[in-house]
């Protein structure tokens, strides 16, 4: 087994979460990397949808941006931006929304707007919502992939840009949101799933060589650990080769 980084483990673990035939709305960055690894390994018929207006993109390198020409040139269909949101996302035609986050909280709420508690006078101004609020609302389920630190993995996000499970305990259903929300969070340390009742994220797996103590250190709330904790299988040489080739092709 070759050496690999924690980022590579995260991308491979996220790729494995996707299965063939699924229709996946892909955010740029870490989610796009993972989705493209999945399509080139175990899930060749994964349908990739990008908010720039492409259905079924099949890029042979990682797109540099959400509107990289390669996404349009390799797509089954290129459509307008209003169409992608209104006809394809909103009615619930997409299985998985695959998102990143600057800040994620224990109920899977995502912040990509501001750091700090005053919106009008933020400590850090982030890019904003993009397509994420409606991706999080309207896909059947949402997977989040994020590098985990105490700053990114917080008790409560400073700003709810995209609604996860709110304050938990079925708040999504009470608000009338039709998708299940975040059902899986993958970080560079491990794997989290919401508790079926409270909807608080619970550590269900760790990546090879990572201890629960390390995960606790990088979690900004009192972490609950599942009774049966799995260990993620290390990346195979094939998975690593695909991931590295995609990255190299985009240099």
């Amino acid at each position: 087994m070759s050496e690999y980084s924690s980022d590579e483990m995260m991308s491979v673990a996220a790729a494995r979460a996707l299965s063939g035939g699924q229709r996946c709305f892909v955010g740029i960055g870490l989610p796009s990397t993972a989705a493209n690894v999945a399509r080139r390994t175990h899930a060749p018929d994964l349908v990739l949808i990008y908010e720039s207006g492409t259905l079924g993109s099949k890029p042979d390198r990682l797109p540099a941006s959400i509107g990289d020409g390669i996404l349009a040139e390799t797509a089954d269909a290129v459509i307008s931006v209003p169409e992608v949101f209104n006809y394809w996302l909103q009615p619930g035609r997409i299985d998985v929304g695959f998102l990143g986050a600057a800040q994620l909280d224990k109920f899977g709420n995502i912040n990509t707007t501001v750091i700090g508690d005053d919106y009008a006078d933020p400590k850090v101004r982030l890019p904003g919502a993009g397509g994420a609020p409606e991706i999080a609302a309207n896909c059947h389920e949402v997977y989040v992939v994020v590098r985990q630190t105490r700053r990114s993995f917080v008790d409560k996000v400073d700003f709810v840009t995209s609604f996860g499970h709110g304050t938990g305990h079925g708040e999504r259903q009470r608000l009338g949101l039709r998708g299940a929300g975040p059902t899986l969070v993958i970080t560079d340390l491990g794997v989290f799933r919401p508790d079926p009742d409270s909807h608080e994220l619970v550590l269900t797996g760790v990546h090879p060589g990572v201890t629960v103590e390390q995960v606790r250190e990088a979690t900004g709330w009192e972490l609950t650990v599942a009774d049966e904790l799995s260990t993620t299988p290390a990346p195979t040489s094939d998975e690593l080769a695909v991931l590295r080739a995609l990255k190299e092709a985009s240099q």
Binding site: V81, F85, L126, F163
Partner: protein
């Protein structure tokens, strides 16, 4: 009917201080040269509208052209943050920037409503998020048929929309293809419109997936080859990723940015 004119002439005629101005383009076909012309002509107090303000909006904001930004995602795609935008929001430099913040679905629907002659659009969006708490153009609405609560957002009707397209014919019919984003809606929603094109041709050959904006739906067309640089025009140019990376360095520092603005102001512009 669209008149074919020079870029400086079109901007002088169509873009006025205090206007609501949309320069649209979703990574592809961004009307960057037109943005630089607005900087050169020192427009002020603009309300800038765009789903994805990227580096050309960073430049307009840093040059002091804007008082307000209506947007849904502001960043340097593939690179990181917009430093001039951040400086304006966090420190009011060079002038304070008011923001009106939406999601992509909300912005797209606002243009659709504007293009459709409707006062607002309805969508399944924003529910549970903090955006309605900070943006007063997001309101709940009850469906008169089902009683379901949905979200309403008001139409966007810019004073001027500017887009870049691959080509136009001599009558001013405009053709664009590839990622067409929200450009058609943005033009149809606007009171006045300008399209910069890679080339003006005798005849528009059909292109798969291409759309045509008829001459009578556009006010002015200007031939500006490379007018989308550093973004790209499918079939004409590749995205200049190095420029986006270089912008990160230029825009981090106020002095370096000011030097950049001076260069743009002194560029000789083809008439």
């Amino acid at each position: 009917m669209a008149e074919i004119v020079s870029l400086p002439g079109a901007v002088a005629e169509l873009v006025r201080d205090g206007d609501v101005v949309a320069l649209e383009g979703f990574t592809h076909l961004i009307p960057v040269a037109a943005g630089h012309e607005i900087i050169r002509q020192r427009r002020r107090e603009l309300t800038l509208v765009r789903m994805t303000p990227d580096i050309v909006y960073d430049q307009l904001i840093g040059a002091g052209c804007a008082r307000k930004l209506i947007f849904s995602w502001g960043g340097n795609p593939g690179v990181g943050s917009l430093h001039r935008f951040r400086d304006a929001v966090q420190h009011g430099w060079p002038v304070p920037l008011e923001i009106e913040e939406h999601s992509h679905a909300g912005m797209a629907n606002r243009y659709v409503a504007g293009a459709s002659g409707l006062p607002f659009a309805v969508l399944r969006g924003y529910v549970g998020t903090d955006l309605p708490n900070v943006t007063d153009t997001i309101k709940p609405i009850t469906c008169p048929f089902t009683g379901e609560t949905l979200t309403a957002v008001p139409a966007l009707n810019p004073d001027v929309t500017i887009i870049h397209a691959q080509r136009a014919d001599r009558a001013g019919n405009v053709q664009l293809w590839g990622l067409v984003g929200v450009q058609k809606e943005a033009v149809l929603a606007a009171r006045r419109s300008l399209v910069t094109v890679e080339e003006v041709v005798d005849e528009l050959a059909p292109v798969p997936g291409g759309i045509v904006l008829p001459s009578w739906a556009v006010d002015r067309v200007a031939e500006v080859p490379g007018g989308a640089h550093p973004s790209y025009a499918q079939g004409y140019s590749e995205r200049d990723n190095a420029y986006y990376a270089a912008w990160d360095t230029i825009s981090r520092d106020r002095d370096e940015f000011e030097r950049w603005v001076e260069e743009v102001r002194h560029e000789r512009v083809q008439l």
